[in-house]
Symmetry: C2
Subunit: 391 residues, 2 copies
């Protein structure tokens, strides 16, 4: 085997010496800098930057904003390699960036990156019981599809992500459906990339802790037809805020997504087999979609929901919430799940909303976690919610 490689390398090196325009090939075998180097709960970050005056690290585990001032300083060795070690990472997925003389960069030695809103960051996973469901494990895997449905109301072909459980294609069974919604900076890819939803589902189903189900993840920005770069708008600068927020369109036309799903997949078509949940703006959507059609979903999950003052919202979707909640209370609903972090900027709004629910004796399950408005929390919430629906 090794002789074959040597021959192969020799041939390639020979031609490489006089030819260029070969893309991203690297047969050099050069010893690369390992970053991040993970040993249990200890992580060492490294960057080769002999000319830099300062190199800092900013990670999502640090409190504070993503400005450089909050970063931790790396130390330079005589070879020009900057490094920093940190102990005691909990089991989770983390994101980070370097600041090289003030310029925010991803770790060039880490091929694994993830985009959140408009930022692309390096990522790593610390293993442990709490993150085991975020890993691809040797269990049967569901299928993840990017599909387009026609919205007559929005006059657009729109992209969505569909997870079908392992064995879906070869069975004749019908399945329950969870509609899983993203936040204001997200799109139909976010629950797959940052949320690790496919891994969480594969693992919980394999463990017998979640029922096999279909999960439909639409794009919650009705002014977009697809995630950035995936529509005919091309590669445009990504904005947090789009003109569709509070328009009521997502809630208004949501039945098109249900119809599409129920016509195109083998689905149990009743409230007992429908769930809806979402994070932040998606929690806001889940709240109003379920309140406006109280007979549609028996399971509702609000993850750090963006329950914001209703002033000036003109759509009928947002009026008479109290009456609608009374109807929902009287429905067949099985679980109304609310989760929020103690330092989430939406904590007080959620507290007020819980008081409203308490006042009318609307039963819900409440999880108050540490931390703020973070994917770490939303992965945990999904992992919890999935184990309680369709039971």
């Amino acid at each position: 085997m090794k002789i074959q490689y040597l021959l192969f390398y020799t041939l390639l090196f020979g031609v490489f010496s006089y030819v260029n325009a070969q893309e991203n090939l690297d047969f050099s075998g050069k010893k690369k800098i390992v970053s991040p180097e993970i040993k249990g709960k200890n992580v060492t970050f490294r960057l080769f930057a002999p000319q830099a005056k300062t190199v800092k690290l900013q990670g999502n585990w640090m409190t504070g904003t993503s400005s450089e001032s909050d970063g931790m300083e790396l130390k330079k060795d005589p070879q020009g390699i900057w490094s920093l070690s940190k102990d005691d990472f909990g089991a989770d997925i983390y994101t980070y960036s370097f600041f090289v003389d003030g310029v925010k960069v991803s770790d060039p030695n880490n091929s694994y990156q993830v985009r959140d809103v408009s930022s692309v960051m390096s990522m790593f996973l610390i293993e442990g019981p709490e993150s085991a469901n975020y890993k691809v494990q040797d269990v049967p895997h569901g299928t993840v599809s990017k599909r387009w449905y026609t919205s007559k109301g929005l006059k657009a072909e729109r992209r969505l992500t569909v997870y079908t459980p392992p064995g879906y294609e070869s069975s004749k069974e019908k399945f329950p459906v969870l509609y899983l919604l993203h936040g204001m900076g997200g799109d139909e890819d976010a629950w797959m990339t940052l949320g690790r939803a496919a891994q969480i589902l594969d693992n919980l189903i394999a463990q017998g802790k979640a029922r096999p189900m279909i999960v439909v993840m639409p794009n919650g920005h009705t002014s977009n037809s697809a995630a950035p770069g995936e529509s005919s708008r091309g590669f445009y600068p990504i904005d947090m805020v789009t003109p569709d927020i509070f328009s009521g369109d997502m809630e208004n036309y949501f039945n098109e997504i249900i119809d599409f799903t129920e016509h195109n997949y083998r689905v149990k078509q009743n409230a007992r087999n429908r769930a809806i949940s979402g994070l932040s703006m998606g929690g806001f959507h889940a709240l109003y979609i379920s309140a406006n059609q109280p007979k549609t979903f028996d399971y509702v999950g609000l993850f750090s929901p963006a329950i914001l003052p209703p002033e000036n919202r003109k759509s009928h979707i947002y009026t008479d919430l109290d009456t609608k909640l009374q109807e929902q209370k009287a429905s067949t609903y099985q679980l109304y799940w609310i989760g929020i972090g103690k330092t989430d900027f939406l904590f007080k709004q959620v507290e007020k909303y819980r008081q409203k629910l308490d006042k009318i004796d609307f039963k819900y399950q409440y999880l108050e976690s540490e931390g703020g408005h973070t994917w770490s929390n939303w992965r945990t919430y999904l992992n919890d919610f999935l184990q309680q629906i369709f039971k």
Copy 2:
């Protein structure tokens, strides 16, 4: 509408001032640096780096390797913004990185990145007739699925990408299948990300230039079950070379992929409706898979195929090629397509292979393009090949 936004911002700003741990939210409305700024065929690259001593740009349109020495220098303005403009980009997709005081970084103002082997680079698209098929256009879109099949031979669950044409799900029709293989540094995602295969297919099908077809993109590294990060190996450092190369396993167990496809999709099951093509290592695979079973594929595409000396290859797959080609020549094959760039490091090997084919009067179509071993060429080759198969 605007009043609603203002209310919303006010609320958010209010809470932002005293709360932290909110992830990647940016309501600041700060004017961001635009990079790359594209005006027709002119592109301006910018980076805010007031402390840097040098900032260089390295793009895939430059000849040479990806080392810093070949980069173009940016100039700094009094505000600390470095910039560089370049004219006359042809219509295509491009990738680039900055070197900030020698450190290779992606453009932090460009959210669009793509990974090739282990490098993650910023990307942009220049519009024009030659790149129109690489863009998402307002045409019907096929579905792209990530699915897993069981390989008994390799004793593994393995991930593949499947493109089904627009309307597949709602029709009862059977479709032809193209098996599309990646190169040595690639995986089952590469034709989708770097190759823009879904866009090329959607567009050619909409134009009536390609037949609606299913395209199956397996992972050509038989020692891997999925792309980096998508298997239980987790987020490991990516290597160009894996122990499976030249083992014959990909060719040997390829019928498992055909069987999976023909059992799970509505497929026309005959040679006239099967095509196989691949780039570089995938071209090598396509050559040997088709030569070893001459009655299976009527269409074969070799894109910059890695036709390398056969010494020490032990598998029966690689022996007696001349005899096998004679059988293939006598088969019902319709198209044997070879494309290579004039400066490709494999040019001479392909030339020798063509001489071998010429000697036995084996008919093939040959495209000699400018440039080297690049995705720019492979996108072009796919665009050409797709228009000639299943006709």
